[in-house]
Amino acid sequence: MNARAWLASALIVLTACEREARKLNEPPPRPPQQFVNSVRLQPGPTEMNDSSAGPFDSNAAGTGEGQQLFAQMNCSGCHANGGGGMGPALMDDEWIYGSRPDQIFASIAEGRPNGMPTWKYRLTTTQIWQLVSYVRSLSGLTPKGARPNRDDHMMTKPAPSQTPNAKPRQTRKP
């Protein structure tokens, strides 16, 4: 190999140096625009081709914080590690209350019938957005490079970064 080829390959390697900048001391992301304190509690139609993204969807550090919060706030008590139990599964493509980031934000912040508690008085907006991104990463709705590479629990399924990209499917009735 000549010098030019070496230089070229070194430059290619350099592009991997900064995957993302960690923004640690920024004003917290705002709640979604149309976020109101009471929403209709009926399951809505799923938007199949929605491309809106949460503030941490393409941020690996934020999604990782969401993963920690998921365990620490005992989400797994009902949703298991995404597979569902008392609560619905989060790693599949069925969404009762919608798959858009603002819809998931509302589900976490407001709570939902049949047992989902209200988290808006407990978690900060930042934390809820981080959870939103982690929940979306479970079924492959966020950019692949920012999804967690490793599960903190027993690996019964591939880590979110190994999950194929997915599209939400039509909802089922709760």
Binding site: R22, L24, N25, P28, E65, Q68, Q72, M73, Y121, R122, L123, T124, T126, Q127
Partner: protein, 310 residues
């Protein structure tokens, strides 16, 4: 400040002696080699290097130096084993503490055969002087390392693995300790303090720290307690005796009796506590505690309440 050259326990003293011996012998060898090199540059040898005599002299010299190097290394190997054995040799410990390393703080659990005397605190290890302390260490997330240089050698905290270290503080004092294995963004701000006290003072501290929660006396502190329990705080923190029982973050029972906040990051003052609650990310970027948006009156009451937790 922490220093391995200022040992205050038999364990640290053994390590420091070993270090000084290695330093002294290494320094002497280095001086000898330097001198020999300088001499050889200045002096031209009388014997012809390729003659029979020259070869034989070279062979002997080489054998002597290789032999001497081996002897020095073997002696230090033996000394090192002896120090290792002396660190592990112990009698029954007087106090047993379970230390869990978190990103980026230390959880301490004082063990006791009486369950009601078990106690959980954070970042500040009080120990009696002149008694053997057993510290069991483990990690909750990534690898950390427990190191109070004045008192003991490093011991790594491996997730899923319990290891043990022993020490006996001989002189009362406050000794700084530090996480000694890179563990993420705030590794540098993951310190702890070992407070060695005479046994009577230690017993008094232990009794005060296990004392039950006293309900807030005045109305501001009572408001503060309400703020604490109704905002996000109890999702991560414990205050023993209240409904706050979470173990994600450090226990805040008897917070006011501690010297520092956030694992040695800040002095424990009212102003520091306020700025910490409002925006921890400005003081310890990357820490897992989120900024807590509170109204000024709520914040003031909350801090007043936290200051009553002596």
């Amino acid at each position: 400040m922490h220093s391995a050259f200022d040992p205050h326990s038999p364990q640290a003293r053994a390590v420091a002696h070993l270090w000084w011996w290695m330093f002294g012998v290494g320094f002497a060898i280095w001086m000898g080699v330097t001198l020999a090199m300088l001499t050889s540059i200045r002096r031209r040898d009388a014997t012809e290097p390729d003659s029979e005599e020259g070869k034989s002299v070279r062979g002997h010299t080489l054998a002597i130096y290789v032999g001497a190097t081996l002897v020095v290394l073997l002696v230090f190997l033996g000394y090192d084993f002896a120090v290792g054995r002396s660190l592990a040799k112990r009698s029954a410990p007087a106090v047993k503490i379970l230390v869990t390393g978190h990103q980026w703080w230390w959880e301490l659990e004082y063990e006791d055969s009486v369950p009601s005397r078990r106690m959980i605190t954070a970042n500040e290890i009080h120990v009696p002087t002149g008694q053997l302390i057993e510290v069991k260490v483990r990690a909750a997330d990534v690898i950390h390392s427990f190191w109070a240089p004045n008192l003991q050698g490093k011991r790594d905290l491996i997730p899923g693995y319990l290891s043990t270290v022993w020490f006996r503080a001989d002189t009362p004092g406050v000794y700084r300790g530090q996480c000694a294995e890179f563990c993420g963004l705030e590794h540098a701000k993951m310190a702890f303090y070992v407070v060695a006290q005479p046994p009577a003072a230690y017993a008094a501290w232990r009794a005060a720290s296990s004392a039950p929660h006293t309900p807030p006396a005045d109305s501001i502190a009572a408001t503060g307690q309400r703020v604490f329990l109704s905002s996000g705080c109890p999702l991560c923190h414990t205050i023993a005796g209240t409904d706050a029982r979470a173990t994600v973050g450090p226990s805040l029972s008897h917070l006011a009796s501690r010297m520092t906040l956030a694992a040695g990051t800040l002095e424990n003052t009212r102003a520091n506590l306020m700025s910490w609650i409002v925006n921890p990310q400005a003081l310890k970027p990357g820490v897992h505690m989120p900024p807590i948006p509170l109204k000024p009156a709520e914040l003031s009451a909350l801090v007043t309440y936290l200051e009553t937790l002596k």
